[in-house]
Subunit: 337 residues, 4 copies
């Protein structure tokens, strides 16, 4: 960390900062410039509330030097991590496509979708049983019966599943029925929930909060890793900006930045990142071209009757067509689906 003093900071003020820094167990390193004195702080700044130095008299601002995450960092583990779900590997040469409805609505719906997406080449089935809805009056998911349907369809169709868990007390039961635990964007900083999934050994798909920086996203991953679950997949799903033409703004740069900073796989949800079925294909292709390790795409047999997210769901036939295009883009960047 670096403390930048005000232009008119006195010697006493500088000495006070140095004393406080040393009291915290660090060594201070002074550098007197023409206009400002700078105090470098040597040592691991992470566990200390160093921003509190900003209130000391004469301090202009404090600049952190170290990345605040450790286990998630490429400094800690230079090689790519690969997360395995049965014979599916995420983070390797193959780009994994997950697909399925926003929510499990009925036996027919989930079976029909599962067969269709598997046939088209999807390797994981998505389907929500617990749905975080902005309105308390909207469909909240089938709950436990939805999980049971997921487990049944998974076994009969032969495809692993991913489903969202919203509450720490549901982690155990969701983990019993599905293969990948999804942490939704609204819960990215629900630390009780992160700690709970961190105590399991299940793969966790951690969606980026719509209001979260890439650094905060990696800090949330760090919560899971610090609880000894290393099977974390990061999922960019669009951020909130001033633009309202789309539901969210896909931060395509987050793939590259993420892969530079961390060894964890980075995937993309083009359905939420656009919010409109007719934009999903372009976003999916862009994600692959930019280096995504996996995609998760909403597919519903009859989008206009979907109980949630109908506007952004593809019909199975559109998904089949898209998969052909995705394979071509994957090949163009030296990967395969």
């Amino acid at each position: 960390m670096i403390v930048i003093m005000e232009r008119r900071a006195s010697s006493e003020q500088i000495d006070h900062v140095v004393a406080r820094v040393e009291e915290l167990g660090f060594r201070a390193h002074l550098s007197r410039g023409e206009e400002r004195t700078i105090i470098g702080i040597i040592g691991d700044e992470r566990p200390v509330a160093v921003e509190s130095l900003e209130v000391l008299p004469g301090v202009e601002r404090v600049v952190p030097v170290l990345q605040p995450f450790k286990l998630a960092s490429r400094d800690f583990k230079p090689d790519n991590s690969i997360v395995r779900i049965g014979d599916v590997s995420i983070g390797g040469e193959e780009i994994v496509v997950m697909a399925g409805p926003c929510a499990v609505e009925s036996r027919e719906q989930i079976f029909e979708t599962a067969w269709a997406v598997k046939e088209a080449g999807a390797r994981v089935l998505r389907g929500g049983a617990f749905k975080p809805r902005t309105s308390p009056y909207a469909f909240q998911g089938l709950g436990l019966p939805g999980l049971e349907l997921l487990a049944e369809v998974s076994e009969k169709v032969g495809i692993p599943t991913v489903s969202e868990v919203m509450s720490p007390s549901d982690v155990e039961i969701v983990a019993r029925y599905v293969d990948i635990l999804q942490i939704g964007a609204r819960n990215m900083q629900n630390y009780s929930l992160l700690q709970e999934v961190g105590k399991t050994s299940k793969p966790v798909m951690l969606k980026r909060g719509m209001m979260s920086t890439i650094h905060e996203w990696l800090m949330s991953a760090e919560y899971i890793l610090a609880n000894r679950n290393y099977n974390v997949i990061l999922c960019e799903r669009g951020i909130r900006t001033f633009e309202t033409a789309t539901r969210n703004t896909l931060d395509i740069n987050a793939i590259g930045v993420g892969k530079q900073l961390t060894h964890l796989p980075v995937m993309v949800d083009p359905s939420h990142a656009t919010g409109k079925a007719n934009l999903v294909g372009a976003a999916a292709k862009a994600a692959i071209a930019a280096g995504a390790d996996a995609l998760i795409i909403e597919v519903h047999p009859t989008p206009e009757r979907a109980l949630s997210d109908g506007a952004q769901s593809l019909k199975p036939e559109a998904f089949v067509k898209l998969m052909v295009e995705l394979r071509q883009v994957a090949a163009a960047v030296g990967r395969r689906i």
Copy 2:
């Protein structure tokens, strides 16, 4: 709700939308303009996933007409709601100031602060026992011993308390020890938690998410109200924008918009909304001038030693001075502290 058709929408497409609208139990009302046909939908649109109509062929976009919240709405209850905590009333003529440290750190710290803020005129003591921290390596709060200290200081000093609850399974215990349950900004859309506090009868301070719209904030309040807890206080605490000179951007307009849309009290947290102690006073005065019903201000005996949020905490003597200024602004807008 209103469905706006594309310019070149065919009669068949229009008929299809009308049929689907009627199938959903609504009446459709056609209006053919020079360039576009518009279909008005008559009936309560709230429980239906109407955005799914956007995928029907020929539809350009769907515009909701009704506010999605009911119980929180001024249409439902035109008069201001007043939330009572003992002899403290929030939402009436008096502006209530809550103050205290970010986190309960020790017996000395919390007692010293409690006496000081009460003496200066604060009516509620704040203090976190469970702290949501971006980093898993940062101080996470004292937990249960922190709650016990809060209950003790509350009784001895004679001041009610507000403290954050982060997990549904902690609601019962936090409710046992404190007077107002705080839902933090990061948990504004943690629906499991909202439902759980909705099942208590404790006053709830619902902080606005840092990238949540005012509508989403009211929808989260609706979750609590729909579970029959009507004691909800809305708290604006700054939103995330592109500006980095301050920790957050105080959305001062949210007070007026909030009070137009809802009968619930609206308060402001000028400490998080600025992130810097030397900006807290201006933000607090602005909040009162703009109509806030209450404030929550971070005060710490030694901010440079605070385990969290030191940079934005006032010393007790600065808080005393600020209270004098706040009383003058309150009087200027016809209220009192």
Copy 3:
């Protein structure tokens, strides 16, 4: 346009709105719902300040129905427009790559770069002579001598050029020396400048403002088209968001949304959209995969010595390598470079 009345709006208030609407020359169409009355306004709303209806008593809000742009709209011209610069066509099957330094700095620099990018397959040379710099103390471009160098290099190397014009009074001279006039992001709503380039017949590359919506971008294009210059190319260059890990956030969805709304070509500037040389390649590939018609990429022989934008400039050898990859992605989406 649609006027949504408040729930408690009186008959007199509704009549007043209808009277005002008819006074403005429109027909009003009433639709009485269970909770709200809605007034549809039939006629071309564009030239009227209809938002002023929002101040009438009893009005809750006003929703526009028509897109505010006409000439830029696909409703006006369904087929793709192709902008031609000599034998270069933008908006057709070929994806055009423009490349060169941020600023023209010297004869050696611009000649060396021009030969290198042409050899690698770039079809247009970029190079700024007038530079909009945040600081008045930063290098502001060579001005007229820079334009003369551009004209000379263009003729000798055999490659057309694009360069920014910042002031209405400079339009004539810049148009004399270069082939494409660039309107920079900061000037997207400099209407005096838009009108001036609209009076020429030169192709105009209109960069999206860093905090402008796609609709506003198209309205700025409309200013140029309305002045009878139809040779407009839209350029997405990243928007400003809360994320600070990159210089801007590339709004990859803007390509698809843009191409749905308008017939004009849509291109991408991956250099500004990332701000970091090691992220440019991924963004460029993503842009092509998402349907961009052209790219503009910053290339400098010695980025660490560049007088501006060095951090995001590729060396010629990196550009050569990138072009090979871009050709593969272009082929995967059925296009060529």
Copy 4:
């Protein structure tokens, strides 16, 4: 400036950065931490494109130390600057209220408004003659006849005027007719225009761009100051965020941050910062409470007939009532109107 090296940066890479720093004319100061080496750069970094150091091998990032503005800075001039327009002083104890219509529309309209706002206590009359409109089809202002009306009303009513100038070539004529030159939000980074108003001696009201940081705003002021016009008033008018309930988000913190960083007066436009007449009063009171030196408020005799910005204009009687309230808040913070 400080260069932070990557964890694995080699000695050669560090030496290379040091060599390049010295070649640029600075002294380098090394500080080797446990995980990172940091290179402090001593000297005035402002005129150099130092971000280009980011491309050197082994560099993680570059952190500027000095504020990029000089003449606008409190370091340069610690005391408040006061801008004088005849007997009106902006930046002193008195809070100056400017008021009037968005645009000059007719003789009756501007005279009626001028008498009304002067009578209510406004010290400056606003009125646009050149209007920057998003749509080329919207009312663009009366132009020169509008300026003539402003000059006439100013003389007859006895009130100075403020009006926007949009093009460098119009600066001379607008300066001839009005007392304060307004640079609109969309032109905050129109550097040709800033330089031109910098060459006059007229007071300049510089609106903050809706997409501009406080630092960029001060850099734009620096452009004017660097051209030797020191009569600059900064005007916060709301920034663009994700919130759509209001036209803009008033950044109330910008007043305090602005006044800490610069000696220039800081004022607020509550009309644009809200976009809704019924929110203007709260925003205006908040601005005064937070320390604003002046306000500019839109007033129109018949807002529903205004050719622009009707939704946010106050009627004269509402303005009279607001002025009474503003005086009370001003007194509460030790100032007067």
